[in-house]
């Protein structure tokens, strides 16, 4: 009996994966086709980029602070007094390679991915997507391509911004509040943190941007059933995108070389 339930569940998951794959393939193909919807692209750049700055500032700042706090405790307790200044590279490495890209990905999936699903979902149930087709506009080129491009471009920018905020907050906390030697902290950070560490975090962010936009648009385009359907699409977008980001992050961390 249990086996009978498992098969449709697996088929359903494969079907949905296939749907996302088809949408992704179509979007990547359409990126190089004309006309390019510049106006929507710029709107989305503003919405994803400028609109996310406050939330990214807060999450990156407190992410950096808490990481500095725990690293200080760890070094102080297990290595010894005076070793805390060597925490700088550890904090910075963890922030730029893992914590900030993930925090930015999760925040943007909650803020922007859900908005994409809600906006496109509402357009779908009010026949606006059908109207696009009737007026000669391909919904993929008009709705999905500009959102995807904007998301892929803005996530690394937000991540770089978050890196700066997070590292700065961790530095201030460690040196000003906890009294760590700022010269040693800075020297060690600059010595051990490589450009590639930052770049690998930005590559991850670009992949997360692609996932968020494609999942949000996919859920929006398959919305059915009125306001309740729109609500379902937004919730699913946040859940699916967040889980996907965490899973993909692990595999990217494994796949990307630790140094080049």
């Amino acid at each position: 009996m249990k086996r009978r339930h498992r098969v449709p569940l697996l088929l359903g998951a494969l079907y949905q994966l296939g749907e996302v794959g088809i949408l992704l393939g179509k979007t990547l193909r359409n990126i190089f086709r004309r006309p390019f919807e510049k106006r929507i692209f710029i709107q989305q750049i503003e919405e994803i980029g400028a609109g996310s700055l406050p939330v990214i500032s807060l999450t990156a700042a407190f992410g950096g602070l808490v990481f500095a706090l725990q690293t200080y405790i760890g070094f102080h307790r297990y290595i010894g007094v005076g070793s805390e200044a060597y925490g700088g590279p550890v904090i910075s490495l963890s922030l730029v390679k893992e914590l900030i890209p993930i925090l930015v990905g999760l925040m943007v999936s909650g803020r922007v991915g859900s908005a994409m699903a809600a906006e496109i979902g509402t357009m779908r149930i009010t026949e606006q997507v059908d109207a696009l087709i009737s007026l000669g506009a391909d919904p993929n080129r008009y709705l999905v391509v500009p959102r995807t491009l904007a998301s892929v471009l803005m996530l690394p920018c937000l991540t770089l911004y978050g890196d700066i905020i997070g590292i700065a907050c961790a530095f201030v906390y460690s040196t000003v509040i906890m009294g760590v030697n700022r010269i040693i902290y800075l020297r060690n950070t600059l010595l051990y943190l490589e450009i590639w560490d930052v770049a690998s975090g930005l590559i991850k962010a670009a992949v997360f941007g692609l996932l968020i936009a494609v999942i949000g648009c996919w859920q929006g385009l398959k919305t059915e059933g009125g306001a309740e359907g729109v609500g379902r699409a937004t919730t699913r977008t946040v859940v699916i995108a967040s889980i996907t980001i965490l899973i993909v992050n692990f595999f990217l961390s494994r796949a990307l070389p630790s140094t080049i």
Partner: protein, 248 residues
């Protein structure tokens, strides 16, 4: 000429169209009547290529559109204009941008020419000077008329009307009927009108087709439909609560 042959469409296990056959001549106004949920809007969306049939075919001027891919459908969509039941105006665009949407995609007109055509189209539906308003600032009837202005702005050969008089007061509804007739007379536009409104049907139709249980059960001129001996047609056109449709 539009030719629909043995069109079938189901949603899940629910069959909606069960073998629709219909021919619409160039320049003709065909009104399709039927109960709510009988599949009239589904039929219209097949004509636009928005929905794909499970079986059957649709020919537009000899070209089978049901076999066309996305690129082919986009090319043929230039021939069509569609007024949606809910107007389907783009929320994020102004009225002017909504009306110019098709013009910008289908024509090479300059922005000044597009502005002029947008103003003319809005005047034709009785809404001068509202280009700068957003759709949420309009009443339901105004939205519908803007939707009509958008559908006619780029001069399509075939216009599909999904419930054009729903949500509009009777006087405005009659002016839309006049507009449908004007477009047919002046531009030889082929029209397919989906409606429940028998007054509108009699005024605009060259022929009326009744869709019932997924098939066209009768087709004829307004006079022929009014004189039909089919009790289903008689119950529907007279809007009787009792009869073969409801007694089943």
């Amino acid at each position: 000429m539009i030719k629909i042959v043995d069109l079938h469409k189901s949603f899940g296990k629910t069959p909606v169209l069960r073998g629709v056959d219909l021919e619409i001549e160039a320049g003709e106004t065909m009104v399709v009547i039927g109960q709510s949920g009988s599949g009239k809007s589904v039929l219209l969306k097949h004509l636009m290529g928005i929905l794909k049939p499970d079986k059957g075919k649709i020919m537009i001027d000899g070209l089978e559109i049901t076999r066309l891919g996305e690129e082919g459908l986009q090319r043929i969509s230039r021939k069509f204009g569609m007024l949606f039941q809910s107007a389907a105006l783009f929320d994020s665009l102004t009225v002017g941008e909504n009306v110019s949407f098709g013009l910008e995609r289908y024509t090479d007109y300059s922005p000044a020419e597009i502005g002029r055509i947008v103003a003319e189209s809005l005047t034709e539906v009785g809404l001068e000077g509202i280009e700068g308003l957003m759709p949420y600032e309009l009443s339901g009837g105004m939205r519908k008329r803007v939707g009509l202005a958008r559908a006619i702005a780029y001069g399509p050969e075939i216009i599909l009307y999904d419930e054009p008089s729903t949500g509009i007061d009777p006087i405005r509804a009659d002016s839309i009927n006049d507009l449908i007739n004007d477009l047919k007379r002046d531009l030889r536009v082929t029209s397919v009108v989906i409606t429940h409104d028998m007054v509108s049907s009699y005024k605009v139709a060259d022929r009326i087709a009744m869709l019932y249980e997924g098939r066209i059960i009768e087709i004829g001129t307004p006079a022929e439909i009014q004189a039909s001996s089919n009790p289903i047609i008689q119950q529907f056109i007279h809007g009787r609560a009792r009869g073969p449709i409801t007694d089943r």
